[in-house]
Each structure stands twice: as structure tokens, then as C-alpha cells.
Amino acid sequence: MRFAASLWGLALLLAQLGLVLANQVHQQVNDLFGHNGSGSATTHTNNWAVLVCSSRYWFNYRHMANTLAMYRTLKRLGMPDSNIILMLADDVACSARNPFPATVYANSGRQMDLYGDAVEVDYRGYEVTVESFLRLLTGRHAPHTPPSKRLLSDASSNVFIYMTGHGGNEFLKFQDNEEVSAFDIADAIEQMSEKRRFNKLLFVIDTCQANTMYSKFYSPNVISTGSSAIGESSYSHHNDVDLGTAVIDSYTHYILQYLETLGKTSRATLQDFFNTYDPARIHSHPGISTELSPTQPDGILVTDFFGGVVSVEVTPKADELDPLRTAGSAGWVSGRRRGARGIGEGGQSSPSPSPMKGPPMRRTEGVRGWANPTERQTEGGWVGNAALSAVLLGIGGYLLIDPRTDRPGIKRE
């Protein structure tokens, strides 16, 4: 009995120590990840991008190059391929007219292959239609659409939409036979807003009279920018002699030139980004619309949209459910892109905001999402309680429970 009493004493001592240590560690983790200093008023926990090249044919090589250059920039800044929906209306890389097969370049010297070794085109060729684009935004898909073709964003996602192609006053041509109008996109974005599919949205468009394309937007938290004013054309930047075609558009060229200077930890804001616009060099007047966003561009980091730099919500360890138990229902496997891609999604026409698809970093949110939020207490307290109960349970378990007994109800994947 004396032995048991001393054990209890030891346990209490250990618990105290654990409490202090856990509090310290938690503070450190919070400092490191909790608020990564972003000036944004609201935080987001994941990034999504929809990159659309709506033009077909070899002579529109530059539109493919525009889109792929954006794709490369996003990947360079840390956005995983699973969160980028890339739509290319034609395959110039493997076109018979491409003298450099399986490559796409956005500069005349052909310094950098944008197609790279690991490109993933989610919608290609005939799949790129107005219908598929609007379905993608609004999340209304046919039952068996694979996850790679879905925008699985949620209320804490920052969504970046980039479009390029041939357009006019309030329309953008898709392929060669249909158009999406500014009203359609505005309504789709309103639906996204209503369905809480984004936290903030950045809409960038490079086409003739591009600024008309976002003129009909009416949903909150949307910042838009375009390459040219009404009545203006957007011009290509330069040609490549060996390819025999223009390789990039002027506006995209200059914004990429700026984005290229940024790194993953850049502190540049969207205002800095917009300040680089120079109508004289671009040969058109880029437009900026911030009236729908309560946060002004100087309060939003460029990396809030371009890249996978997110603020991680640190949750105490005790909030996590036992991974062995949670894995059976939702599946950790599907957390990885390739894993998620193949799995038949059943009849999910409008998937619930899925934390499962994305970088492994977001695992914690997924778990937190399943925990009952009303049970949450102050974080430090939780850690302390957890440490205490862990120690007590451990000792109790050692004393009472035969360690060889299998725990019931444990599912493994």
C-alpha cells in the first residue's frame, strides 16, 4: 500500500512537470505557426487555384504558356499539385507542330521548361468547356467525377482564379465555339460565396478588355484584377523564332516577372503587387477592383493566394482523436493526392469541405473538425489535463489492465 501511495506521489509530480513542459512547448508551437505574421484580418488554412487556358490551337501557344507559367509559380511557392486545377484547352506540348516535344516555354531563349517532369493537367482538350468550368467553381459535378477534377475548397480556403484566352467586352471565348460571360462568372462566384467555398478570392484575367470580366461581380471578399480596360487589347509580349509563335502575353509576363522575385516567406502585399503595374510597358491599362473586399490589398499578402503558405491552427494534442479510430471512416490514405485521385467518390455531388485532400500539414484540422468544439477549453488547460490524465491512465493501465489484451473496436486501414 505504501508502494502504491509513493507511486501516486510520483505520478502527481510527473503530471505537474508534464503540465509545465507542455505549456511551454505549446507556447513555442503557437508562436511559430499560430499567426505567421500575416496582416490579414482573417486567416485561411488552405490555398486553391484554378488556372484556365480557354484557347485552342497552336497559334495560341502563349495562352498555354501563360497558364503553365502561373502553374509553375504556384508550385514554386509551395502549393501542392492536388490544390491546383489546371485546365488547358489544347495540348501544345505534344502538338505535332512543337519542335521541342513535351516542353512549353514562356521566353524566347527557351530557358525554362514550364511543362517540367511532373505536370498534372486536370482538364485538357475537349474537357475544357464553359460548363465544366462553371461546374468546377460551383461544385456541381457528375457523381463519379474524380477528386482531381473538383475544387474541394472550404470556408477557410483562399482561392485564386487565373483565366486567359481571347475575350471581349464582358465575355471570354472558350475553345472556338462558346463563350462565358461576365455575368456567368459573377453568378458562379456568388454561388461559391453562398456555399462557403472560399474565404478570399483573387481573380486575375489576361485577355482583351479583361477588366469588363469582373465588372459584374457582387460577392464579398473578392479582389479582381485584369490586364486591359474596356476597348483595349491585351498584347503578346514577344515571339520565339524556333517555335514560330508568340510565347507569352505582356501582362502575364510582367506579373510573373514580379512574382519570380518572391519567395515562400515573402512579406509583400497585394498592394505591392498592384504597384508594379506599368501601363506603358504592358501596353494596356490593368484594372484593379478591391471594392468587394473588406480587407484592402495592403493588408493581404501575395503569398496568401500564390502558394501554400498557410497559418496552421495549433490544436492541443488532446483534441486529436485516436488516428486508428478515425482512419477507418474517412481514410488517411485519401489525404494524399494520388491516393485520393483514384478512389471512387461514390455519389458525392457536393462534397463536404474536405480537409482530407491537401498537404499532410493540414491533418490536424481534419481531426479538429471531428472533435466536438463545445468541449474545447482553454488550450493550455487542455494540455495540462491531457498530460495529467495520460500519466494517470498509463499508471492505471499498468496496474489494472493486462497489456496483452487487444483494444476492442480498433480499425486499421
Partner: protein, 581 residues
């Protein structure tokens, strides 16, 4: 002691599992072709056990196989599945081969086919739904369209052409979806490499993981074939991936064909993938005496390839001696390569052309040449979209040349015709049972008409035309390709190639002027506006004299008179006057 037994008891399933462990084999086959080209084939084969654990809940363990490939197949009751992408044309005449070394490759574009298990008690539509689900999932995986756009596009009559590769007691349904418009590009290679256990970073896959190199080759084929474990016979599963390309060995400026692994891939022979059970480089030696290679092969085999006995040199990479080295081959004393004047042709070759192509109709001409000494039995199959309507009564089969003369009924023994049901999205499939006389060319002609499709059903690049899936010739009398020393079997039947494909065919459809609908809308709106305007006028207007201001000015007296009369008439009279004016 009891603890030890307990431990052993715990370990036993693990030991058992490791005994039936997954295996991974990789091979690179080089095949110099007579026309100065080289066919390069990568094959990656993984054997996996069907173990799903013994717990109460289904478990699946993956060591070398990718769950992203196998889980959708498992979930949708797939027994066997094959996907093929082909880009470029295989030249049957110049290569002397009826097709690429990868026998699973289709004729052109993308192709998916498979056998699905009919689950007991499920509705008949369930298996169709499973097929749509699995093709969608794999389409997403391979960055391509593999699923049928409409359910009617699924072809179900190819079960006899592609029989299941093993005996099974299960009730299976065959599905086949051709996607001739698909092409093969870097985005299809990325997932292919990701599915391999070596991921393109070690082993032979390291040579393949260079899209810029391997996609610059002329003919390209990529594909996978998965055979799922069969619980009814307790057999394990297998999945095989292949990538084949044809490289031109002759430099653009002319020269010799001498080549090497480093020259082809800009990389030396990589380290062996540690998990590989076998890793070999094979070279099918050309039938010329001056062919040399270095280093010398570890072993040699003999193989029948399209009716010819060929010598195959094999280098085993497992011993590690070749790592970081190069493998060179050349033709001794060959200056500039001269294209051979005479080429040995393959035992059977096939081509499909279009004759008399008019806007509304035309004729498919299929030429099947049997160069062998023996009469052959074969089935020729085609798949058409619903808007191609064949004139079945006009189908004819005739022999072009040679000694054997046969009537159409002897050459064309049987025709299975599964018509489409226009104008719904559906397919016509045809299977011609043919007798191919020796040393003769059989010409099969099928006249057809093109039905009109709605302007919304045209492709975005409608003027380009629409690809028809390639036709496939299935040989029914093959003897296999392994060598029997004292065999007296006729050579031309010694081959493992069951299917010979034609190229896909670009069929142009009469395309409307797509601005026409708008013209029509504008015209009809104008007509309607004029019509309704006139009707409105006719119904609401009334003809009569108007007392205008000019008249009032002309005679003031009259005006006062009129005004007086108007006042006498009262408000009704006033109303009438207003209506008229």
C-alpha cells in the same frame, strides 16, 4: 518460453505474408528495326497478393502496389482492366512487325477495357455504374478522359476478342471504351511513374523519367494491365505497366546507326531498384551478321516474334556489374546507313483507308495481307459512332491477288452486327469472321453514310473531323512464341501477337457554318417582329380621316365649327378623335 511462443505466434502471419511477398520485375527491351529505327520497350511487372487481412473489417496491405490504382478497382469489382495510350503511327511495312512489342497497346488514342464481376443480388445496372466509376477514377489518375461521355458509348461485344486472361468461376461482364481522340503526353507519364514502386528515381524507370527525351520519339505507347486477385481460385494479382517508343537511330544529317544507352537516354545504366526481384536489359538482335554489342550479354534466349525465330541477348543488372556503365551496339563497317531496298514483311499486315469520301458517304477499304504459307482464321472488328451508318447488304470481301481465289462467302464466313440506335449516343460494333488465304490480300469494303448530327454535338474544332477507333484483327490460330526445338509448326503462326490494329481514321463530317444559327435567330426574329407588328397594327388601328392642325389653320371658321360640334358630341366623340390620331 511461453513469451517466445507468443512472440512466434504474433510473427507467424507476418512471416507468411512475407513469404507470399509482392514481387517487382523490370525489363528494358531494345529492338533494332530494319528501317534504321529502334523500338524501346520498358516493362514493369508487379505481382501482389490478394491478402485482405483476417480481421473483422476489410483491410488491404500494399507494399509495392499503389493503393490509388488498386482501391478503385477493388471497390468496383474489377477482375481485369487494361488501359492503353498510343500516339503516332506504327509502320507495319517498314518495321517488318505487325505492331509494337507491347502487345497490349491499342491502335491509336486512348482505350480502356476490362472485365467486371457481377455482384450477386445487385441490380443489372450496378455493373455498368461500376464501370463508369472505375473509368472516371482512372481517368482522373492518368490525367486523361477514359470514361464514356454517355453510357451508350460503352461497347460490350468485345468479350470474345479480349477474353479473360485466366480461368475464373466468376460471372464477368466485358466493357470496352475507345477514346481515339486522346493523345499521350507528359501529364500521362507523370502518374505512370508515380504508380511504379521505383517512382522513376531508381532502377530502369530512372531512364524513363525524362519526358523531354522519351516523348520526342516517333511512336509512343503507354499502358497498364491489371489482373486483380481472384478470391474464388485464391490466385494473386498482377499489374504490368509498359512504355514503348520508336527512336530513329540514323542522325538527321545521315550516318551510322551506332547507338548506346547513354546516347538514347543521356544517362548511364542506373542502380538497380533495391526491391526489384529481377532487372534485365534485353536486345533482340537484328538478322545481320555485322551486328556487334559491348559489353557481351550474360545470356541468350530464342524467341519467336511475328513468325520469325529471333535471338535475344539478355543482360542481368542484378549483379551490379553494369551500373554506371554504358551498353553500346553498332553495325560493323557501316558507313552511312542506307535504307534497305527490300523489307521483310510481317506475316499479317492490315490497313484501313477511306475510298470515295464524299460529304455524305464513303467506303471503308480494309486490306489484310497474309504473307505466310498458310491459310489463317481471323476476326476483324470495328467500332463506329452512331452517326456512321454502314450499308451491311453491300459489304464485300474479295481476294486481290495470289493463286487462291475464293468467293465472298468463303472469305467472309460470318458477320456479327450490333447496330447503334441513332440519334442517341451509341455505338455500332461489327465482327467479321474471315478466312485469310495464303499469299494473298483480302479486301473488305464497307460502304457507309454519315448521318447529320446536331450543331451542338460537333467538337470545338469541328472542321478537323472526328477520329474513328482503330479496327482490330484478332488471330484465332496462334501457336505462341516460346521455342520448341523439334517443332514442325508453320512459322507464321509462331507469335504471341493476338491482335493487330489498323491506325485510327480521321473522318470529316459536314460542318455547318456555326454562325448560321445566329443568322437564323436574327432572321426569324425579324420575321416575327414584322409579322406581329403588322398584326398589332391591323388589330389596333382604325383607318379614317384626321382633322389635322394644317386644316384648322386653313379655315379658322371651320375649326370653330368643328370644335363646337365636338363639344356637342360629348366625351365619346373626343375619345374617337384621339384614337384615330
Amino acid at each position: 518460453m511461453t513469451r517466445l511462443i507468443y512472440l512466434l505466434g504474433l510473427l507467424a502471419p507476418w512471416v507468411a505474408a512475407s513469404l507470399s511477398a509482392d514481387e517487382f520485375h523490370e525489363a528494358l527491351t531494345l529492338h533494332p528495326l530494319p528501317d534504321g529505327k529502334l523500338s524501346v520497350l520498358f516493362e514493369f511487372t508487379t505481382y501482389f497478393s490478394g491478402s485482405t487481412g483476417h480481421g473483422r473489417t476489410p483491410e488491404s496491405h500494399h507494399s509495392l502496389t499503389s493503393p490509388s490504382l488498386l482501391l478503385p478497382l477493388q471497390q468496383n469489382n474489377v477482375s481485369e482492366l487494361s488501359i492503353s495510350f498510343v500516339s503516332g503511327q506504327w509502320d507495319q511495312h517498314r518495321s517488318g512487325q505487325a505492331g509494337p512489342l507491347s502487345y497490349g497497346s491499342g491502335g491509336g488514342g486512348g482505350e480502356t477495357r476490362g472485365w467486371l464481376r457481377n455482384s450477386k443480388g445487385a441490380s443489372p445496372g450496378k455493373v455498368n455504374e461500376n464501370w463508369v466509376a472505375v473509368t472516371n477514377a482512372l481517368g482522373g489518375l492518368f490525367c486523361a478522359t477514359l470514361a464514356p461521355a454517355k453510357e451508350g458509348e460503352v461497347v460490350k461485344t468485345f468479350g470474345d476478342i479480349y477474353p479473360p486472361s485466366r480461368e475464373t468461376k466468376q460471372n464477368l461482364t466485358h466493357f470496352h471504351v475507345p477514346h481515339p481522340e486522346q493523345l499521350l503526353c507528359a501529364e500521362n507519364l507523370t502518374p505512370f511513374l508515380a504508380l511504379l514502386p521505383s517512382k522513376g528515381v531508381s532502377g530502369l524507370s530512372h531512364l524513363l523519367a525524362q519526358p523531354g527525351v522519351v516523348l520526342s520519339w516517333g511512336f509512343k505507347a503507354e499502358g497498364i494491365e491489371v489482373i486483380m486477385p481472384d478470391p474464388s481460385t485464391a490466385t494473386g494479382g498482377l499489374w504490368k505497366g509498359w512504355w514503348e517508343g520508336v527512336v530513329d537511330l540514323v542522325p538527321v544529317t545521315g550516318g551510322s546507326r551506332a547507338s548506346s544507352i547513354e546516347k538514347l537516354f543521356r544517362r548511364s545504366i542506373p542502380r538497380v531498384f533495391p526491391e526489384a526481384s529481377s532487372s534485365v536489359i534485353r536486345l533482340i538482335t537484328p538478322e545481320q551478321d555485322n551486328f556487334r554489342m559491348e559489353p557481351q550479354a550474360g545470356s541468350r534466349e530464342e524467341q519467336w516474334l511475328d513468325g520469325r525465330k529471333r535471338e535475344v541477348m539478355v543482360w542481368d543488372l542484378m549483379d551490379g556489374g553494369l551500373v554506371g556503365q554504358d551498353l553500346r551496339f553498332w553495325w560493323e563497317n557501316e558507313g552511312d546507313f542506307g535504307h534497305p531496298l527490300k523489307l521483310e514483311s510481317s506475316p499479317i499486315s492490315i490497313s484501313r483507308r477511306m475510298a470515295a469520301p464524299y460529304a455524305s458517304d464513303g467506303t471503308f477499304v480494309i486490306r489484310i495481307t497474309n504473307n505466310g504459307d498458310d491459310q489463317r482464321d481471323a476476326v476483324y472488328s470495328e467500332v463506329w459512332p452512331w452517326w456512321v451508318k454502314g450499308w451491311m447488304s453491300e459489304v464485300s470481301a474479295a481476294v486481290e491477288s495470289g493463286e487462291t481465289e475464293g468467293s465472298s462467302s468463303e472469305l467472309l464466313r460470318h458477320l456479327a452486327y450490333h447496330p447503334s440506335y441513332p440519334p442517341h449516343p451509341s455505338t455500332t460494333s461489327l465482327h467479321f469472321s474471315l478466312t485469310l488465304p495464303a499469299h494473298a490480300t483480302l479486301i473488305l469494303t464497307i460502304p457507309y453514310s454519315k448521318l447529320t448530327i446536331k450543331y451542338t454535338e460537333h467538337r470545338p474544332d469541328a472542321e478537323r473531323g472526328v477520329e474513328l477507333p482503330s479496327g482490330v484483327l484478332t488471330l484465332l490460330d496462334l501457336e505462341g512464341e516460346s521455342d520448341f526445338p523439334n517443332s514442325t509448326v508453320i512459322q507464321s503462326r509462331r507469335s504471341g501477337r493476338t491482335h493487330i490494329y489498323t491506325t485510327r481514321l480521321l473522318l470529316d463530317l459536314p460542318t455547318p457554318d456555326f454562325s448560321m444559327p445566329y443568322n437564323v435567330i436574327i432572321m426569324s426574329c425579324t420575321v416575327m417582329a414584322v409579322f406581329f407588328g403588322m398584326m398589332q397594327g391591323a388589330l389596333s388601328r382604325q383607318w379614317g380621316y384626321v382633322d389635322t392642325a394644317m386644316e384648322r389653320l386653313r379655315g379658322r371658321g371651320k375649326v370653330t365649327e368643328g370644335a363646337r360640334r365636338g363639344a356637342e358630341m360629348g366625351p365619346e366623340g373626343e375619345g374617337d378623335t384621339e384614337k384615330i390620331s
